[in-house]
Amino acid sequence: MANPPKGEIVPNLCYGDGKPYDVGHDRALINTLNAFIDYKSATQAPSLWSEYPDDTSNTGDWWLLWMGPVFFGTEQLTATVTRELTLAPWFRSNAGGTTGYIRATLSRTLPILAPAASSSFTTDIRFTDAYSQATWSTSSSTWGVGADATLSLGVKDLFFGFAWLCIEKKATGQLRGFSKFHEGPRIVT
């Protein structure tokens, strides 16, 4: 991670009668504002649970395990100023040597049932509005952290600033949550 200029506690002596308008405090204010908006206020929401919900090996569809809204601030990202969510699962395969999969989707709206899906909360789902998705796989039966993946935060709700995180499994994938879950700084393109 790059090392941008850090924030500072700008003192009261930078203003008042007889105090000069100086470039040093301007830089301190700029650096602190940038550091706050990009790093200090960045949403961080790792979540680990004791339980792991499913032991069944499903080979066809993805099964929805966990889901919920996550808030990333109400600023509206654009095509030229964006942010990414970096996340990494704490997962394993419940049968060593057999590959299990975990998929995370950040979606603007709630998912819907896939056509002809059976009626239960475990069923195959579809995403219908803006979404961003990442998949991990492992054949190891030892719990461990997956590689970092990034999801676009441009998919978040345009007014309230939250997105639905949907976590699914396929085959022998088992998950205890996301050990890393961090909103990145603004990316200007």
């Binding site: 991670m1 090392n3 924030g7 500072e8 506690i9 700008v10 009261n12 203003y15 008042g16 470039v23 301007d26 830089r27 204010l29 700029i30 650096n31 504002l33 940038n34 706050f36 908006i37 990009d38 790093y39 200090k40 206020s41 929401a45 790792p46 979540s47 680990l48 649970w49 004791s50 339980e51 919900p53 499913d54 395990l65 966990w66 889901m67 919920g68 809204p69 996550v70 601030g73 109400t74 600023e75 509206q76 654009t78 030229t80 100023v81 704490w90 709630l110 049932l113 009626s119 239960s120 909360f121 069923t123 030892t142 719990w143 952290v145 600033g161 939250f162 050990s179 890393k180 603004r186």
Partner: protein, 382 residues
């Protein structure tokens, strides 16, 4: 209809501070970072565009970078089942409101309760209770989120299309204040997930927004900095993002009961078995890079709070945050947790300004039982 506005109301003319404006002038559109090397160098004249840029960035930081204080992207497959007409405690968290917080806002998703035809007419719901004290005895505000009756007459066939989402303001909290909160299932209600975040305002909790309409002929006055410097300082010290929340799913018991321990050997709270720290023990990879200040050489000041209790007659429970080498970074020591469940706090500690893995361990004395319900860690600078 909500009584609060999302970003607060409009100030009366007499309440607006010097060189400020009575309502939000900042665009919600994300702006690129300000370029110090372009605008603030020796030899350059003071520039109205820079003053406007800094003022807009400060307004936007307050309004659009408010923080999430809790979220639970929780189980939907095999979600918590057994319910009753009695209230059931679910998730707990601790937080400190930001310097310009004028309300909280919660988005909650709920699922129906399968329990037979009697539930077809039950007005199921959930509620969020915010407390001002560690014993959860003094209620500041309670907000209800209603699911209503079962969509299929009381049994079966529940799918993602049966999820109902409720949004509500949580009014009555004060800025820059410690609070403790919990979600509760009410009358057969089943909460599935939630996010709770702060709404900040410079009209509700200050004397207006920094002006963004300065021009080449505008005077350069001290009030510009007098408006900016304290606000940026306040945001940095008390308006930073939550670090993590951990909470038991079902504090009342069952297969998703809160973890408990009798052993005097510190043990991981997630798997309940690991007594050392390694890459294969469950822990949090915390990204704290660039969250420290220029003069902070030892990391970012934080606080850890935990809700737990001991079996009768003992105060031996200990909670520890350990880094990847197993060193204790923060702890709530013996003597804190008693037989009465409550929130307890660590001493202030610093998290290194790096990306690193941390495990949470707990232990007792080999005789008494220590039960842990929730842990919250947040940035907090005195």
């Amino acid at each position: 209809m909500p009584t609060k506005r999302f970003y607060g109301g409009v100030l009366g003319d007499n309440a607006v501070g010097d060189r400020q404006v009575p309502q939000m002038p900042a665009s919600k559109t994300a702006a690129a970072p300000l370029q110090a090397d372009r605008w603030a160098r020796n030899g350059l004249h003071p520039d109205a565009a820079l003053i406007n840029g800094m003022n807009e960035a400060c307004n936007a930081a307050v309004l659009f970078r408010s923080r999430q204080i809790f979220c639970s992207y929780a189980r939907i497959n095999a979600a918590l089942g057994t319910v009753s007409s009695a209230d059931r405690d679910r998730w707990r968290f601790a937080f400190h409101t930001g310097p310009y917080c004028h309300a909280l806002f919660a988005i909650v998703s709920m699922i129906p309760t399968d329990g037979g035809p009697t539930l077809a007419s039950q007005p199921t719901s959930n509620k969020l209770i915010v407390y001002s004290d560690t014993a959860e005895a003094v209620t500041v505000v309670t907000q209800t989120f209603t699911y209503g009756s079962h969509p299929h007459g009381g049994t079966g066939s529940d799918t993602v299309t049966d999820i109902r989402v409720a949004m509500n303001f949580i009014e009555g909290v004060s800025p820059d204040t410690d609070y403790y909160a919990k979600f509760v299932d009410v009358n057969y209600g089943r909460i599935q997930s939630a996010t709770v975040f702060e709404l900040q305002s410079l009209t509700e909790e200050s004397d207006g927004y920094a002006s963004q309409n300065n021009t080449a002929m505008s005077p350069i006055v001290s009030a510009y900095r007098q408006t900016l410097a304290p606000r940026i300082r306040n945001l940095w010290r008390r308006g930073s993002a939550q670090v993590l929340n951990w909470t038991a799913d079902d504090p009342t018991g069952g297969i998703h009961a809160p973890p408990s321990i009798i052993s005097a050997t510190a043990t991981n709270i997630i798997d309940g078995t690991s007594t050392t720290v390694s890459a294969s023990t469950p822990g949090y990879t915390l990204v704290m890079n660039n969250k420290d200040r220029l003069s902070q050489s030892s990391g970012i000041p934080c606080v850890m709070k935990a809700y737990g209790k001991m079996s009768a007659g003992s105060t031996a429970g200990v909670l520890q945050l350990k880094d990847s080498t197993g060193a204790v970074i923060a702890s709530i020591g013996s003597g804190a947790f008693t037989s009465v469940a409550g929130w307890h706090s660590s001493a202030a500690f610093n998290l290194p300004a790096t990306t690193a893995k941390y495990d949470i361990h707990f232990k007792s004395d080999g005789a008494a039982t220590f039960t842990l319900y929730a842990v919250s860690i947040y940035q907090y600078e005195t």
